[in-house]
């Protein structure tokens, strides 16, 4: 049993890789299998992620101790081989990914997965890239997994085609390709100065650098940081984000909600490891603080100005990303656990919101098509891909699921829940995340007075919530109350279910805030004591062949 469990860290990478590849080979006609495989893959990833989460709590002391597990790929030990490292933060992020992936995948089964070829393969490859980026302990391997997830995301971004998507996709791809070049330059400089790419080894060798090499190394780290911040959507590197996220199809936008968090994760992971040698990298933290503040300003202005729900949610993603970076830039270790809580809650909320937007949007589209003589979207996409249009798309849609009654009531209720989550109002988990952040700032300043940095963060948390309430209330009024003669949309269980699932998860996060916070506290502690991580990676023995 333990021999098998030792291979657990590689499961979240291998399973989507294999399933994605198999999906490419399955003929379109075998719909049952084409749907069953990805769902099974995501369920397997959830199981593996939960098991990783359990193992990092040191519940099985004969396997992993101190909450860090190392898997040496091909039995090559660090620093010569590439290792996967599971610590509490990585396990948390993998779990979050799989929990967001399940609803997005189920939602896509309603009809989005059929409007173009290869949806399921790209979705699985995206999951593989995300899981790999969270688990890897090697800088260049991190680049490779970033590229895997980006390549899949380029395809998913364009999924469904249409001028708006292709236009937004063009910007999205060029910005991210350029960011990848920055990533490579940063990695190459770091390798040139230290001679290693293993993150734990890197942290150790940092102290041995002389002053000249040190300066070059810091330049490399800063370039690397810029590449991460492009992913995180920091101002002024985030102008591509609102149009890309609002143009992407709903299930794709729902899974994209976690992609800005990858950038934040990478900053947190590499930042804390590099800071272990000494404290001279603090200029990155200062940059994070001001960058985060500017991002919040941009996000808030965008939220207030947005006229469509999709753009508004995209700007709220930017604002929450800015809040995370600003809080991290404060260099207050007590803040890390609340920041992680807010990260989880905001990822779930944004994902639910994008799917909800897909449902309200679709009804408007049908209305438009009925009133004006505009062709509904799927026609364009079938033509664009040269795929033969199914005989009667409407009837095939009806077969997929059961329509749920009281559709408008559900939409309204889900909308209110999402607003509460994004704005951080009680009783849902957004409130707990923001409250914990405020509490940590005030509490840690109890010894001294609050500095202006602390006041700025408190103001930012409150302003973001306030702006979200104003902007969302306005859009909500327009969506649900002011439209007369709107046709009540037909909702299917597999569309409404995922949104409900995510909101219930947030509710669970609220009810179980105590245990979750305890776990996040331990995750934050181990992040700020990277010596354990470094030691475990260095002493990890090669995997022995199973007897």
């Amino acid at each position: 049993m333990t021999a098998l469990l030792r291979h657990l860290p590689v499961i979240p990478i291998l399973v989507p890789l294999v399933v994605g590849a198999v999906e490419l080979l399955l003929p379109e006609a075998r719909r049952g299998l084409r749907v069953a495989l990805p769902v099974a893959s995501v369920l397997a990833q959830i199981a593996a992620a939960l098991m990783l989460l359990y193992l990092t709590t040191d519940s099985m002391p004969d396997m992993w101790t101190e909450g860090v597990g190392v898997y040496s790929i091909g039995s090559w030990v660090a620093p010569f081989g590439i290792v996967l490292v599971v610590d509490r933060l990585a396990a948390l992020m993998v779990t979050l990914t799989s929990l967001v992936a399940l609803p997005a995948l189920v939602y896509s089964l309603a009809n989005w997965d059929r409007v173009g070829p290869g949806f399921h393969s790209m979705f699985q490859f995206l999951l593989m890239g995300l899981n790999g980026a969270f688990l890897t302990g090697d800088l260049f391997n991190l680049f490779v997994f970033f590229e895997v997830l980006l390549a899949a995301s380029y395809g998913l971004m364009l999924h469904g085609s249409g001028p708006a998507r292709v236009k937004a996709g063009l910007h999205y791809i060029s910005v991210n390709l350029t960011a990848s070049f920055l990533f490579l330059i940063g990695v190459a400089m770091i390798y040139g100065m230290t001679g290693t790419l293993n993150m734990a080894d890197l942290a150790q060798r940092l102290t041995l650098l002389d002053a000249d090499d040190r300066a070059l190394f810091e330049a490399g780290a800063a370039i690397l940081g810029v590449a991460f911040l492009v992913k995180a959507g920091v101002w002024p590197l985030s102008f591509w984000l609102p149009s890309a996220y609002s143009a992407a199809s709903a299930p794709v936008a729902a899974i994209f909600a976690i992609m800005t968090k990858v950038g934040v994760y990478a900053v947190l992971r590499v930042g804390t490891l590099l800071a272990s040698g000494d404290q001279q990298i603090s200029f990155i933290d200062v940059g994070l603080f001001y960058g985060g503040a500017a991002t919040i300003t941009y996000g808030v202005i965008g939220m207030l100005a947005a006229q469509q729900l999709g753009r508004l949610v995209a700007y709220s993603v930017i604002a929450s990303s800015g809040l995370l970076l600003m809080a991290l830039g404060l260099q207050n270790e007590a803040l890390t656990a609340p920041v992680l809580f807010y990260l989880v809650s905001s990822a779930l909320a944004a994902s639910a919101f994008f799917m909800l937007n897909g449902m309200t949007d679709r009804t408007r589209m049908i209305q438009m098509a009925a009133s004006a003589d505009v062709a509904p979207l799927p026609d364009v996409t079938y033509m664009g891909f040269g795929v033969k249009e199914p005989a009667d798309p409407l009837s095939s849609e009806d077969e997929v699921g059961v329509a749920i009654p009281a559709a408008m009531a559900f939409l309204g209720l889900a909308f209110v829940s999402c607003v509460l989550l994004v704005a951080g109002l009680p009783p849902l988990s957004g409130f707990i995340g923001k409250f914990a952040m405020l509490y940590a700032v005030v509490q840690s300043a109890a010894e001294g007075a609050l500095g202006w940095h602390d006041w700025a963060l408190i103001a930012a948390v409150l302003v973001v919530g306030f702006a979200a309430v104003i902007a969302l209330t306005r859009i909500g009024l327009r969506l649900f109350w002011s439209v007369t003669g709107r046709t009540t949309p037909r909702l299917r269980v597999i569309e409404a279910g995922p949104v409900g699932f995510l909101i219930l998860l947030c509710l669970g996060l609220t009810v179980g805030a105590g245990p979750v916070m305890t776990y996040l506290d331990s995750a934050a502690r181990s992040l700020h004591a990277p010596d354990v991580y470094i030691r475990v990676v260095h002493t990890a023995a090669a995997l022995e062949a199973a007897p």
Partner: protein, 114 residues
């Protein structure tokens, strides 16, 4: 040798960035290609510039590491080449799709108003 390589990387990067900022999609893709050449050369020279030193150990008696070039940057540059090649191909497809859907090769999908 260092100065020649440094100049080459610098010129490639400068032209790449300039092209990247141009308004036509074809210029953008050429810019990305030039940038990727520059980055690949940069990674390569991070393993130090050496002549007549193989990156693999030859024979059991050759154990002095000073006689060999660092193989890691060469492996890295290979990966980087493959990835940038694939993404460039993908970008080319998107470029053509954008041209077909919007009827213009401007990056914003419409001609700027005079």
């Amino acid at each position: 040798m260092e100065i020649v390589l440094a100049l080459a990387i610098g010129v490639l990067t400068a032209s790449g960035v300039w092209l990247l900022l141009r308004p036509r999609t074809f210029q953008v893709i050429m810019g990305l290609v030039l940038l990727s050449y520059a980055v690949n050369l940069f990674i390569f020279c991070m393993g130090r510039l050496e002549i007549d030193r193989p990156p693999i150990l030859l024979g059991p008696d050759a154990l002095d590491p000073r006689m060999y070039a660092d193989p890691v940057p060469q492996a890295l540059v290979l990966t980087a080449i493959v990835i940038s090649f694939a993404t460039t191909a993908l970008f080319l497809v998107v470029l053509l799709a954008a041209r077909g859907l919007t009827g213009t090769d401007h990056v914003d999908g419409r001609e700027p108003e005079e």
